[in-house]
């Protein structure tokens, strides 16, 4: 019983780890098409990561062991979150000690380690990236929790499996739409996308995540990029499982897999579309943007009372 659970855990972690660069590539491709460009192929990120993982690295003499260790922790957190994430395909298991807060705090841990690493090299870029990352995190966290609560209150539990089961196959009401909108905003902020951050820039006025990892190169950079892709996929999975509850039933049948893949693709497309349509926002406008998410979540809680 217990061993089965552990196996499922590892399978999920491995599966999402392998698929993550593909989803990231898909988003990029969608974006390119929407912007009338050809763009790189959907598998480009695999090649990039493979390249980075075979390169030597340049490390500043200012740095300490924190800088060297941080990418591993960052990667492990992403993989851990992937293992604990809600995949509707594996719901036959009864005992499932995967709590929502375990996933959220793995994200906090990953952010903590990367922000420390960003300060380690002593450059102003790193410090700025770290500072802004922690600032945005402080704003995202309450909104994210509120949004998650819309589902957790329905399930009367913060256990991810309970939450998944409670929403699966449900009808979409007003509450679900509000909650989905709220989480989509948070998805934009957490995956470092326009309008909160810009994943494609190295301009010091705009970058947040890129600023933090500016000093990294070679194998460690590969790990970080990969981990970011995994984290993004985990968030997309959470979004499509918990906030897009239109699924025929629970289980791992063919139709469920088709629905699941469809929802992932839909979310990826949505991300690409919103990034094409939106402008980068001033850093101090972000609180207002996330407040909208928090407000929507509160509305969802109010609307979701049964």
């Amino acid at each position: 019983m217990f061993l089965d659970n552990i196996m499922v855990l590892f399978v999920k972690a491995l599966f999402l780890t392998v698929m993550a660069p593909l989803v990231a590539g898909l988003i990029k491709k969608c974006k390119a098409i929407l912007q009338n460009r050809r763009g790189p192929g959907v598998f480009q990120l695999y090649f990039d990561i493979a390249k980075w993982l075979s390169k030597d690295s340049v490390i500043s003499p200012t740095t300490s062991w924190i800088f060297k260790v941080a990418p591993f922790i960052y990667f492990a957190c992403a993989v851990g979150a992937a293992g604990l994430s809600p995949l509707i395909l594996f719901t036959g298991i009864t005992v499932w000690p995967a709590d929502l807060f375990m996933v959220l705090y793995l994200f906090v841990l990953s952010r903590f380690s990367l922000a420390l690493a960003s300060l380690d090299a002593g450059s102003a870029f790193g410090g700025m990236g770290g500072s802004r990352e922690m600032y945005i995190a402080a704003l995202v966290e309450p909104a994210l929790l509120l949004t998650m609560l819309t589902v957790a209150f329905k399930a009367h539990s913060t256990n991810i499996m309970d939450m998944t089961v409670s929403v699966a196959g449900g009808a979409g009401g007003l509450s679900v739409i509000f909650a989905a909108a709220a989480f989509f905003i948070i998805l934009l902020a957490e995956t470092g996308r326009i309008p909160v951050d810009n994943p494609d820039t190295h301009l010091e006025l705009t970058m947040v995540h890129e600023g933090m990892i500016l000093e990294y190169s070679g194998r460690r950079l590969g790990l970080i990029v990969w981990a970011s892709a995994i984290k993004q996929l985990v968030l997309i999975v959470i979004f499509s499982t918990l906030f897009l509850p239109w699924t025929p039933a629970i289980g791992g049948g063919a139709s469920q897999i088709a629905w699941f893949v469809g929802k992932i693709l839909l979310t990826a497309g949505g991300l690409a579309l919103s990034e094409t349509l939106a402008n980068k926002m001033r850093l101090f406008k972000v609180p207002g943007f996330l407040a909208v998410a928090g407000l929507l979540a509160l509305l969802a809680i109010v609307a979701g009372v049964d």
Partner: protein
């Protein structure tokens, strides 16, 4: 083994220390080792007492000498033992730390300081064990006064001012506590704790007792808006004392609240818990906000204590709400969360203060803007401080994560007690505030650690820093280990907490967490399991292994050394982000609360094109100060002005007052 023997041993040790230390006046080194050594032994005796109680159940004893109103009776139940054990554990570590740290104070009144230190620890140990109202008030006062004198030790103007502020505040608090106790004693007709109950008393008395105890103990705990003394007094004391004050002295207030709300007052109306929740949430959020923008490391830690007291009280408040709505199972969970966090905060706050003290010891400055790069010269301290930071930021797998999870769960269940949309909204808002607090705490400690220990040294002070002696490292290491152990063995701690709480709940109500599975910390609400650190550890380790495999897939590769990229110029320490800069966005986003005032002074004598000197300062204004204390202050000053008019200093006038009163009394006595 007899309990009274153990307890007596503890008292005897401290008495020996207090009596003999003054006679070692000339030999400071001997006095240092002796006094602090005794403190270690005494504290360990306290830990033994506590474990004895956990094994054999509650113990009571009376000392042979008794005065009419001062019955020295001791009763250690598991609640007392829990706090006794925490105090003993932290005090033992602090005393060991003090042996090395105390040397800095040889030039000052060292013997006095050692004496006060011993008395301070002893009074804390007594506060949580005595069983009599008067005795409690006396040792509570001794605790306040000794800590006041220790705060004043540093001999600087700021510390003296802080000490007096502390003295005034703590006495106001004591007055409230005294009122609460006397009302209780009056309605129950006894001064013994075991007999104090107000079940028969009317609603008004109960409410007044509640309010008085909340204000009184809240003053000591440092909840906002009664916190103003805390961030000034705690940093001013010598570091090992700061660690004790922040780590355990605040917890004596929690102990007092627990006694009142679990035992003396019984189940109260829901607004009691609601009020505590409100102030707890304010304390948590404001406390951490002030901590984020602080750049004096010890003040930062002090503000973070305000935050953590807020977190503990969130648990207490939720517990009381559950009790009043007849949900003892959830109440037990909430109280357990609060008590767990009491232990955790004691451990990691002591650790962080030790680390901060080590840094101050090495660099002679508390201002983070002068630190930097210490990880290279203080390798051990930096590891321990990192563990403390991770624990206080509630990162898995450390202890802070577990207690914060329990808090989340307690708040998550609030809608069950309150019901309806309102209940859900209250629960949701409190949880999101808790999330905000957690995220800000993470930002705060990223800043503290990153600015102090990482990158390059920012001043000449830090360049000469060296690692502190082993006597300071061992307690830090022990506390760091404890952070990890308390996190990983959380289900075991829950068994302990069950023992602490079981007497205050209906039969069998909280047995849910008495016999957990070894790897899952669950709540009744969760059908398929709760928090499991082993599972978390498993996936995390799997992730690490995967990362290492990918890293080594094409061999380890070469690492080249290259300067940090600063657009092509050679980087120096002045290009690094500062603590003020790091917290800048947060300061601005929460500007409505923090109201930062920036001041830029440009030195006009320097050339505008090169080498211009600009001084940039940020001041944070404290909302509570402005809204509560400054008006209060103005009122008191105006009152004093009026008193000054009356008090001219003229002897004749004073006697004139006497005469006027005499005549008035005479006339009154004739019933005119």
């Amino acid at each position: 083994m007899e309990f009274s023997l153990l307890y007596g041993l503890m008292l005897l040790l401290f008495a020996t220390g207090l009596l003999i230390t003054p006679f070692l006046g000339e030999k400071l080194k001997v006095a240092n080792v002796f006094a602090h050594g005794i403190a270690i032994l005494g504290s360990l005796a306290a830990v033994l007492c506590a474990s004895f109680v956990f094994v054999n159940g509650a113990q009571a004893m009376k000392l042979p000498f008794q005065l009419t109103y001062m019955a020295f009776s001791v009763r250690v139940d598991t609640l007392s033992a829990y706090f006794l054990g925490i105090i003993g554990l932290v005090a033992a570590a602090a005393s060991m730390y003090a042996i090395a740290y105390g040397k800095e104070y040889f030039k000052q009144r060292f013997i006095l300081m050692a004496e006060l230190y011993l008395a301070f620890i002893l009074s804390m140990l007594l506060v949580v064990t005595v069983n009599h109202v008067f005795m409690f008030l006396v040792v509570w006062e001794v605790m306040s006064v000794t800590s006041f004198l220790l705060v004043g030790q540093e001999n600087s103007q700021a510390s003296t001012k802080a000490a007096y502020l502390y003295l005034v505040m703590t006495h106001v608090g004591t007055a409230f506590i005294m009122t609460a106790f006397l009302l209780l004693a009056n309605s129950s007709g006894s001064m013994e704790f075991t007999a104090l109950r107000v079940l028969g008393a009317n609603e008004w008395t109960r409410n007044i007792v509640f309010l008085c105890s909340f204000i009184g103990f809240g003053m000591k705990a440092g909840i906002i808006p009664l916190h103003v003394w805390l961030p000034k007094a705690h940093p001013a004391a010598p570091t090992h004392v700061s660690a004790l004050m922040s780590g355990v002295m605040l917890k004596t207030a929690i102990y007092g609240m627990a006694r009142f709300y679990l035992e003396f007052l019984g189940i109260g109306p829901a607004w009691w818990g609601g009020m505590i929740l409100l102030f707890a949430a304010i304390s948590a959020v404001l406390g951490v906000l002030y901590a984020v923008v602080e750049h004096d490391i010890k003040s930062l830690l002090a503000y973070s204590s305000v935050e953590n007291i807020g977190l503990i009280l969130l648990g207490v408040g939720a517990g009381m709400v559950f009790m009043s709505s007849g949900l003892p199972v959830l109440a037990g969970l909430a109280w357990a969360a609060a008590f767990f966090h009491v232990f955790n905060h004691a451990v990691f706050k002591a650790l962080l203060f030790f680390g901060a003290g080590a840094v101050v010891h090495a660099t002679h400055t508390r201002d983070m803007e002068h630190h930097g790069g210490l990880i290279k010269v203080m390798p051990y301290t930096s590891v321990f401080f990192l563990i403390g930071s991770a624990a206080i930021a509630a990162l898995p797998p450390f202890n802070g994560f577990v207690s914060e999870w329990l808090l989340f769960q307690s708040l998550f269940a609030l809608p069950m007690a309150l019901g309806g949309i309102g209940g859900k909204l209250v629960g949701a808002i409190l949880i999101s505030l808790l999330g905000l607090t957690g995220a800000l705490a993470a930002a705060c400690f990223v800043k503290a650690y990153g600015i102090m220990f990482l990158a390059k040294s920012r001043s000449a002070l830090t360049e000469k820093a060296v690692e502190v002696p082993g006597l300071m490292l061992v307690p830090m290491g022990f506390m760091a280990l404890l952070c990890l152990v308390l996190g990983v063995t959380a289900p075991k701690i829950m068994v302990l907490l069950h023992q602490v709480l079981v007497a205050f709940f209906p039969e069998g109500a909280i047995d849910g967490f008495a016999s957990p599975q070894w790897f899952i910390l669950g709540t009744a609400a969760q059908a398929s399991g709760g928090l499991s650190l082993p599972v978390l550890g498993l996936v995390f380790v799997a992730g690490i292994i995967m990362a290492i495999i990918f890293y080594l897939y094409k061999g380890a590769g070469k690492t080249h050394v290259g300067e940090t990229w600063t657009c092509g110029i050679i980087p120096n320490a002045r290009m690094e982000y500062t603590a003020t800069g790091f917290s800048g966005p947060i300061r601005r986003a929460f500007g409505k609360i923090l109201r930062p005032r920036t001041m830029t002074v440009i030195n006009a004598n320097t050339s505008p094109y090169s080498g211009r000197r600009i001084v940039y300062e940020v001041h944070i204004s404290h909302v509570v100060d402005e809204l509560v204390y400054q008006p209060l202050n103005r009122y008191i000053v105006r009152l004093s002005q009026f008193m000054k008019e009356i008090q001219t200093g003229s002897v004749q006038l004073y006697i004139g007052y006497i005469m006027a009163v005499t005549v008035a009394v005479l006339i009154w006595s004739t019933r005119w």
